[in-house]
């Protein structure tokens, strides 16, 4: 009987899953995907382009969504992760995003104001993180995912995700405090 707890989830779990309401899914997931890119790549204009690319890919591949293998939000974030990786690969020689924005056009008054904001400050700190830590933070605080869903998405254990996140936030907190936060 215990086998049900696993096998039912895997073999007929998708029987139990409701249809995807794409309109509702778009409204719900758009801010998550958009903020994932803000945390993952920085608060530049790329976040909108990459968000649009993610939803276009999701729509084209909608028939491939497997409801038994995970929630819709997790599936969309799987696509978003790939979009981010492709984007980073295509900009192999890119400068860190906050620097890149300056070089491109020079800071506007608004950008200068933002640079002084907490958001820009956090963005600069995130740039210094290793890729894995930055991705975890992006999924947790940008996409608002649970540790369990992040673990599934990244193939890590839930406890490992919690440990890495805790350590990373502590590190960021220390840097924030040192900088006068």
């Amino acid at each position: 009987m215990a086998s049900e707890s696993v096998v039912l989830q895997r073999l007929i779990g998708w029987v139990a899953a409701p249809e995807v309401d794409w309109d509702a899914a778009y409204s719900e997931q758009l801010p998550r995907v958009y903020n994932f890119f803000r945390y993952r790549l920085g608060p530049g204009a790329d976040a909108e382009d990459l968000t649009a690319r993610t939803f276009e890919k999701a729509w084209v591949a909608r028939h491939r969504y497997r409801r038994d293998l995970g929630r819709f939000s997790t599936w969309v974030m799987t696509i978003a992760r790939r979009v981010a990786i492709d984007h980073l690969r295509s900009r192999k020689n890119h400068l860190p995003l906050d620097e890149g924005m300056d070089v491109a056009s020079g800071p506007s008054p608004e950008e200068l104001a933002e640079r002084r904001s907490d958001a820009a400050r956090l963005a600069r700190m995130l740039v210094a993180l290793p890729e894995r830590e930055r991705e975890l933070v992006s999924l947790k605080y940008g996409a608002g995912m649970t540790n369990r869903d992040i673990a599934r998405l990244m193939g890590l254990s839930e406890s490992n995700v919690g440990t890495i996140l805790h350590r990373t936030v502590q590190q960021l907190r220390a840097g924030w405090d040192d900088a006068g936060g």
């Binding site: 215990a2 998708w14 029987v15 309401d21 497997r66 293998l69 963005a123 254990s157 907190r173």
Partner: protein, 325 residues
Amino acid sequence: MDERFMRSLEQAPDPEFARRLRDQLGNDIEADAEERPRARWTPLLAPAVLVAAIASVIFFPSVRASAQAFLDLFRVHTFTAVSVSPDRLRQLQEGKLDLKTLLGDSVETVQEPGPPHPAASAAEAGAAAGIMVKVPGTLPAGLKPDSVSWRGAGQVRVTADVERLRALLDALDIRDVSVPMAIEGQKIDVRMPAVVEQRFRNEKRTAELLQAKSPEITLPTGVDLAALGEIGLRILGLEPAEARRLAQTIDWRSTMLIPVPGNAGSFRQVEVSGQPALLVTAKGERKDGSPREGTIVLWSRGDMVYALAGNLSNMDLLQMANSVQ
């Protein structure tokens, strides 16, 4: 300082951007909502699945063996359906039981299966999953191969918690069964091997064939499985006499029990390639009130388990299942 600073980069998308992208996707989304000719799967089995999961998770560690005991190894070879009480499912749905609290930390994920991996072919997916993949020789109703994917093995460890089980029984007003203290703290490992899925579709219909090695369950020996199964069936809402009769006839070491809500589905035993199989049909409604229906057939062969699900007719589904070679 708390973690609020971690949220400081969060920002709502520009409404104009959100509207523009929505419009860009919009026509397609609305068209899809209007079409939806596919009688997709109903969520009506969901509570039953949940209940089964809860019951099995709680019950299987019901062992009386000492820590020195040998381990038993269980594998699924047969599937049996049981009609469960819609009232019990409603009771669970209405939140009269806080199942999450009842389960709590008694379930530990030992191995995450990871995300699904797309594959170029069934053979490639099989190689990655470590199984000899079979494919259907017949695709009825004009179905065409659509996609193939595989997912890695997963493993969970469950620790029995007598107090939680008692709380569950109390919440369900089941007073005539006792929970043996000997199960407290006992652990069980449930391993689900890697799964390969092949998906087929046409304009209106879909079918998915899943195959995997049989799930394995290990637990200390000395378990009175029939007694524990009886409690599990009571949790699913069966009457005491019926639960006792079924518990005594089911081979708990090799049978996966599929709970089907009495008001939402039907089931019958069939044969696939000469092997006993279970055909479950679930019925529900679309948002517009029109009926929808889906069917799944489950069978095993050797050390493999198979599930073929879709919105095909029973005849087409069984024809396809019988052609899996």
